[in-house]
Symmetry: C2
Subunit: 314 residues, 2 copies
């Protein structure tokens, strides 16, 4: 398949880099100010080198990326809230031109799900977004093939940064600010980690899960969200004395979407360590499924994007 | 889709029972001596009641099941080794008539993979077999969508009976024979549990994984298999003193297929308890994925079968 990749951050770069290995071709790669475009397939290595050296991926304008030949748009620009622009506009342009869309950007799926599905209904193209929930973990494709109607709830650890901070705090007895600074040094937390530690990122993923599972459309405004920054200093210590620990748990249930710090058994399934994510699906006929793996990272998220591209090719 | 279900054990019964909920219709249900057949859809409840009361599912002969109208054959007769008959013959008949095939029966996939794929190549029908590995756990569909070439190895706990026995022995300090008898009382182990405890069942699943992942075709003869019956009495105790325990671990790697009791960390990911199964996939670009859930049982395995039917409908 021919792919137009929008966004040249960690995910977009990795998608472009790995596309060939999956048998696909990149006909456009754009960042916010430039693009490399060639309907016969761009030279990905050259574009990524130019990005590193000159801060741009090519000599074309970003808007040229969607004018070239492609089968699927890969939307990997940063997640934005509210109207989810400019991502939503990219998705609209691709679907109106009857192309497929694969999203790594959570905004359009979490904030404008009804609009997204309406555009899809009027298009020959289909929309997929495995990468928006749990990174490399095949959560949404499992929901899809098991049938959303047969899954009553989803819950799990959906933010690797918050999980890294909580597991380090518990294991080493260190304070929140100290561990967060360490996470920033390691590149595990961003310079502005607020979406990760205040629960927004996990909530967006749970909203997406709720939209896929549910009878009504959710957006971030419908979610009840609490982060980890205000966790009392002794909460982890008290939990530990009782064989438990604290994790930032997100839930999508028929009652709605909730994210917050919760007590979980110290050696239990939900107490994944480091940056790992886990999702538990409660099925009607097959009990509980646990799916865990790397919830973020360029190649990890790109793997989920390319798995979606593979599914579109079936 | 119209389904012809062969086999009226726990899995076949559950497939027939749940098919309607997934939007499908059962046009035939057969056990080894009888069948219920109706091209407009059989009365599943009546057929299952007749099975309970009179030991047969209907007044037709089993071979009539494949003469009716159906889109997909569900092969859920007992797994047999070697030539994998009669299951393989059923699969051949369906594919030669250009119907799809969904297997819960491991025999044709583990023992005659090359033959199976050759029949599929010459057919309009496609073959799927998610239910043959890990019950309800979406192992093979994950391998498929991630691309078998990008997964270097699979390993895990693939037999719930053996795992139940080992986890009870470790938790309660009880002997093998005692726990096995208890498992039989609970219906967790069959009257003849040899395939479960001698590693054959786990090995068949690993052979299937190796066939899907691999460059060459395996059968049970190629697997190196050791069971749990000969585990020294003090092995679990010694492991426990060291923070470890024993699990029957199956592996499909580029080096081949191996099944045997292995030491694993007591609170580690592989040490699932009771009848749960877990599969770890080593991916090239996304690290390790852990998938766990119920590895056996009628509704659980039927869920995997019906997920395959859903995928065929895409």
């Amino acid at each position: 398949m021919k792919l137009a990749v929008l966004g040249a951050g960690a995910v977009g770069r990795s998608v472009a880099d790995l596309a060939g290995e999956y048998g696909h071709e990149v006909t456009a790669l754009a960042d916010s100010t430039s693009a490399a475009v060639d309907s016969e397939g761009i030279d990905v290595a050259a574009a990524l080198a130019e990005k590193d050296e000159a801060g741009r991926v090519g000599s074309a304008a970003p808007e040229d990326a969607l004018d070239t030949e492609y089968d699927a748009l890969v939307e990997a620009t940063p997640t934005t809230l509210g109207d989810a622009e400019p991502g939503f506009g990219h998705v609209r342009a691709a679907l109106e031109a009857d192309h497929h869309v694969v999203l790594a950007n959570k905004g359009p799926v979490a904030e404008r799900y009804a609009d997204l599905r309406e555009l899809e209904r009027d298009s020959e193209g289909r929309v997929r977004f495995e990468a928006t929930v749990g990174g490399a973990i095949p959560v949404l494709s499992t929901v899809e093939s098991y049938g959303p109607d047969t899954i009553s709830a989803a819950r799990g650890v959906l933010n690797g940064t918050a999980n890294f901070v909580l597991s380090r705090m518990a294991a080493e007895g260190l304070g929140y600010e100290h561990v967060l600074a360490e996470a920033q040094d390691l590149g595990v937390a961003e310079a502005d980690p607020s979406f990760d530690v205040n629960g927004t990122d996990a909530a967006l993923k749970c909203v997406i899960l709720a939209n896929v599972l549910g009878d009504r459309e959710y957006s971030l405004d419908d979610a009840e969200v609490e982060g980890i920054a205000e966790l009392p200093g002794n909460a982890l210590e008290l939990a530990g004395e009782d064989g438990r620990t604290v994790r930032l748990i997100g839930e999508a249930t028929p009652e709605g979407v909730r994210v917050g710090p919760r007590l979980v058994p110290e050696n239990g399934t939900l107490a994944v360590s480091g940056t790992r994510n886990i999702v538990q699906l409660e099925t009607d006929h097959a009990g509980r499924l646990n799916l865990s793996g790397r919830g973020a990272g360029g190649p990890e998220t790109a793997t989920a994007v390319l798995a979606d591209v593979n599914r579109l090719g079936d």
